[in-house]
């Protein structure tokens, strides 16, 4: 009777919260700043992200999620608690809500369990899980129920989920531990090796967003980058081209394309035919990388395009799926949803 439906995209890089009838109400980086001496949480979200790499010895900025799953349970719970309090204002905070959280399709049972526990701990009346590619497909407005093959590639901060969906279920899926974070790491490693320049995670991410591309033949753009010279130990400023970025992330992008090819190889032929007609839909923040759809099209021979609002697809999908949860239960979509209620676990 009371309470509402909340969909959470508990991403490695960003947490998005969708509230029924309101839409996406929160989009914050999944970062927590903690005082090591007292164990007190100092900041969460954007505020904490600004502290990353700039904190004194006693304060550390933690990213509680790694590779799409919970790496630090306590911090994840604290972060979720903070976000839920921000989302639930006024009278509504006295009621418990139904919550649906997405997990990578390759998450283990322990990792799924941790997410469920965290959701219940922060005050969910009922907690459900949905696999990321399914949520992404629903969020991208794909008609997942029709008996036609659809391919979704969700490139998140920590993981890339590739799946072929038909008749409301995942036919083939693959979860790669490649995502925006790995791209950043690649850029940092490349700059260290090629330019002897050490940069932070935030700078690497900025570089990727500003001039990052997958296609080396694209028109070159330059960006001024500041960091610490590894030889002299002094701050230095260099100009980095988009071609350098494409070289830095080339290896990861290639692994991603290989993953897509693998899934296509495992796809039943009838569905392959549908996918050739319809193409591959990219979602997630990683899909905004310039040239990625073209590169996938080039390597697979299938049209590939980015969905509208790719970063919000998963969160929107969790919300929509939660609205239809009763129907999904009635249809017996096993493997999609896991319900945890009063400490018991139920699969349907």
């Amino acid at each position: 009777m009371f309470g509402t439906d909340i969909g959470i995209d508990l991403g490695t890089a960003t947490v998005l919260i969708y509230v029924k009838n309101k839409g996406i109400v929160l989009r914050e980086p999944s970062v927590v700043a903690v005082d090591l001496d007292t164990g007190k949480i100092l900041a969460v979200g954007y505020e904490a992200k600004n502290m990353v790499g700039r904190t004194p010895g006693s304060i550390t900025s933690v990213r509680p999620l790694r590779d799409g799953v919970i790496a630090d349970y306590t911090m994840t719970e604290a972060m979720l608690h903070h976000f839920m309090r921000r989302v639930q204002r006024g009278f509504s905070r006295f009621f418990r809500n139904r919550v649906m959280i997405c997990v990578p399709s390759g998450a283990t049972d322990v990792e799924r369990r941790a997410v469920l526990e965290a959701a219940v701990e922060v005050g969910a009346k009922e907690a459900y899980l949905i696999e990321e590619p399914m949520a992404a497909a629903i969020g991208a407005n794909l008609n997942v129920e029709e008996p036609r093959g659809k391919m979704v590639v969700d490139i998140g901060g920590g993981t890339t989920d590739i799946a072929v969906i038909s008749l409301g279920g995942i036919v083939v899926s693959k979860s790669l531990r490649i995502g925006g974070d790995r791209f950043d790491e690649g850029i940092m490693r490349y700059l260290r090796k090629q330019y002897s320049l050490a940069i932070g995670e935030q700078t690497a991410e900025n570089l990727k967003i500003m001039i990052g591309t997958c296609l080396q033949e694209e028109e070159e753009t330059l960006m001024v980058l500041k960091g610490r010279d590894l030889v002299q130990g002094l701050p230095r400023q260099i100009e980095v081209s988009s071609a350098s970025v494409s070289m830095a992330i080339g290896e990861m992008v290639q692994s991603l394309i290989d993953g897509v090819r693998n899934v296509l190889e495992l796809t039943p032929p009838e569905l392959s035919a549908d996918i050739i007609d319809r193409g591959i839909v990219l979602t997630g923040g990683g899909s905004l990388l310039r040239g990625l759809p073209e590169l996938i099209t080039r390597h697979t021979g299938i049209n590939c395009f980015t969905a509208d609002d790719p970063m919000e697809c998963v969160a929107l999908g969790t919300g929509k799926a939660l609205a239809e949860i009763d129907k999904l239960q009635a249809l017996g979509r096993s493997g999609i949803l896991v319900n945890k209620r009063k400490g018991r676990r139920r699969k349907f």
Binding site: M1, N303, K327
Partner: protein, 319 residues
Amino acid sequence: MPEHRDNTLQDLGKEIRRKREELGLSLKDVHEGTKIRVQFLEGIERGDFSEFPGTVYVRGFIRTYLQFIGAEEFWGEYLPVLSEGTEKVREEEPSVVGSCTPPTKGFKPASRFWIFAILLLVAAGSSWYVWYTWDQNGVPTFAVREENSEEDKTSANKPDSGAAVEESVSGKPAQTVAGEASETGSDRQNGSVPLSADQPAAPLAGMASPPTAAELVGTNTPQSPPAAPEKKKDRELVITADGDCWVRVRQGTKTLYERTLKAGESVSFTVKERIEVTYGRAGSVKTRWNGENMGNPGTTRGVERVFYSPDGKTGRIAR
């Protein structure tokens, strides 16, 4: 509105086609470059999206096509038209997981609402009852009633118990004492059994020993006695004044009550320990002891001293 939309889409399609022809590209070339089926490319150029598998594909294919022919400026014109169309398509499209069952509204267990509603009503009702039954003095009346019933029950079950003062006053012993008292009263009226001043209790009942602890409860109501004491007539002393009369109640050497009662006034005492009552004008009052009318407390119209004991005994104290 749809006609306007179709016209716009057709116009945009024509523009795209013109642009493609300017570049010298055939639809097959575009298909080679974008891997979009020629059928869909023709659909875009015609402005007819009926064959497309879904809105998301319409948008994706158009954007890819525009990027390929380098006409991305048209995307801005497509966007509002497509958004308009999306709403239309959404209405027709089945919901997220098919149209086999209607979408659920709110929470499935609707019975919970009634549980909450009933609980709310019960809570409201009980709080109203507590408020309604709360006594003026801040004492809930139902608590008093409960106490009374418990006392009655106790006295009925344990008539011989002499431990508690209240118990000894009512029930079987009370009746016995009342009998004795009435006998005493009749004797007194006859004047045949005068009480001794030195041995006040001895002539009447042979009381073993006077109680050590003493308690007296007195209420004074100007016109009528309160409802609760009336129920306990059998162990109470009620003094009703016909005319003005000074009354003093003492327990040992301690004065518990001292007042001049006006004509018509009535005062009642719950006697838990032996008390001595001094009537200034004994002829002007009527007493009721253990539910029995005792008439005037003394033979004279002047000062009289009478003792009342919790075991039901009473007697005049000679001066």
